[in-house]
């Protein structure tokens, strides 16, 4: 395919993936609405202030922000044809993403260990599922970036691989956008007096 045809195909995929991201916004929106309605339904169990550790959450947030920044740089490197830098930067993206997920999992298992699982109250159900759904998306992204690292190592920065990296970057950025709202609506507004 010539460059014009490649551009046309990329355009199609970019729009298609963008539309998918827009649908994901509605998915998260439904979970946010549910969280807003159920956040006060603690049923005698812990409230937000009882279970949120803000410094820990701030660290998570900054790690994810850094990860998304590095991902953007990785895409610049890929478009400039620099294969080694691409692998380094996307690899770093992956490591920071793993760190984020590990922190989140440790937060979850601590709560479960204390008896504050999703079964304790509607508030906790909404919390675990909203934040957990974001975490599941992060996990999907991590699988994606691993596959991409393998493919780029195997086949180099082909037009198809470039396109896929570009779509991954969109996805990864989108997940940080969602996290802005989780950080604000769930954590900050949860402890704000």
């Amino acid at each position: 395919m010539n460059t014009q045809e490649v551009a046309k195909v990329n355009n199609k995929y970019q729009l298609g993936f963008w539309v998918y991201l827009m649908t994901d916004c509605l998915l998260f929106g439904s979970l946010f609405a549910t969280y807003a309605v159920l956040r006060g339904a603690t049923y005698g169990g812990p409230t937000e202030a009882d279970i949120f550790e803000m410094p820990f959450v701030l660290a998570e947030t900054l790690i994810l922000l850094t990860s998304t920044f590095v991902c953007g740089l990785g895409l610049v490197a890929a478009k400039a044809g620099k294969q080694t830098w691409t692998i380094i930067l996307f690899g770093l993206t992956m490591l920071l993403g793993i760190a984020f997920l590990a922190m989140e999992l440790s937060e979850f298992s601590k709560l479960i260990g204390e008896g504050f699982s999703w079964q304790r109250s509607a508030f906790l159900s909404a919390f675990f599922v909203l934040v957990g759904t974001h975490g599941a998306h992060i996990l999907a992204g991590l699988i994606w970036v691993v596959v991409m690292l393998v493919r780029v190592t195997q086949r180099g920065l082909t037009p198809n691989n470039l396109r896929r990296l570009s779509l991954f970057a969109l996805f990864w950025h989108f997940l940080d956008v969602i996290w802005i709202f989780i950080f604000t609506v769930v954590y900050l507004m949860g402890v704000a007096k």
Binding site: N11, Q14, L15, W18, V19, M22, C25, L26, G29, S30, F32, A33, A36, V37, M54, L58, T61, L62, L65, T66, T68, F69, G72, L73, L75, V76, L170, H173, F174, D176, V177, I180, F181, F183, T184, V185, L188, M189, V191, A192, K193
Partner: protein
């Protein structure tokens, strides 16, 4: 290259906004609904910063389908989310069991309604 600049600006501004919101809350600089409004605004600003710097919302050739779908999504989202919150608040109030209603009315009385 202009993308690199964008990413750097986006990153720095986002970190700043995040830290600001965090310290306003933990340092209790504002209170009550003012605090909520402030951090909501900070979140919205960061949202748009990231939409432009990371997600390249403005970089669409004509016709601007990405922008059109984004705006449609935004409108729908606002209607569904805030509509649901409005409806559920209303329902919870009207369908509250009598015992809880007494407690609720005492609470409202203390707030000065």
């Amino acid at each position: 290259m202009k993308h690199v600049i964008r990413y750097v600006i986006g990153f720095v501004v986002s970190v700043a906004l995040t830290l600001a919101a965090y310290f306003f809350v933990t340092g209790a600089y504002f209170a009550g609904s003012v605090l909520i409004a402030v951090i909501a605004v900070l979140a919205l600003i960061q949202f748009f910063v990231q939409m432009f710097c990371f997600l390249h919302l403005d970089e669409d050739e004509q016709p601007r389908w990405k922008l059109a779908v984004f705006i449609s999504m935004g409108v729908t989202l606002i209607i569904v989310v805030f509509g649901s919150i409005w409806i559920m608040n209303n329902l919870n109030y009207h369908m509250m069991p009598p015992g809880e209603m007494d407690a609720k009315m005492m609470e409202e009385k203390d707030k000065g309604f």
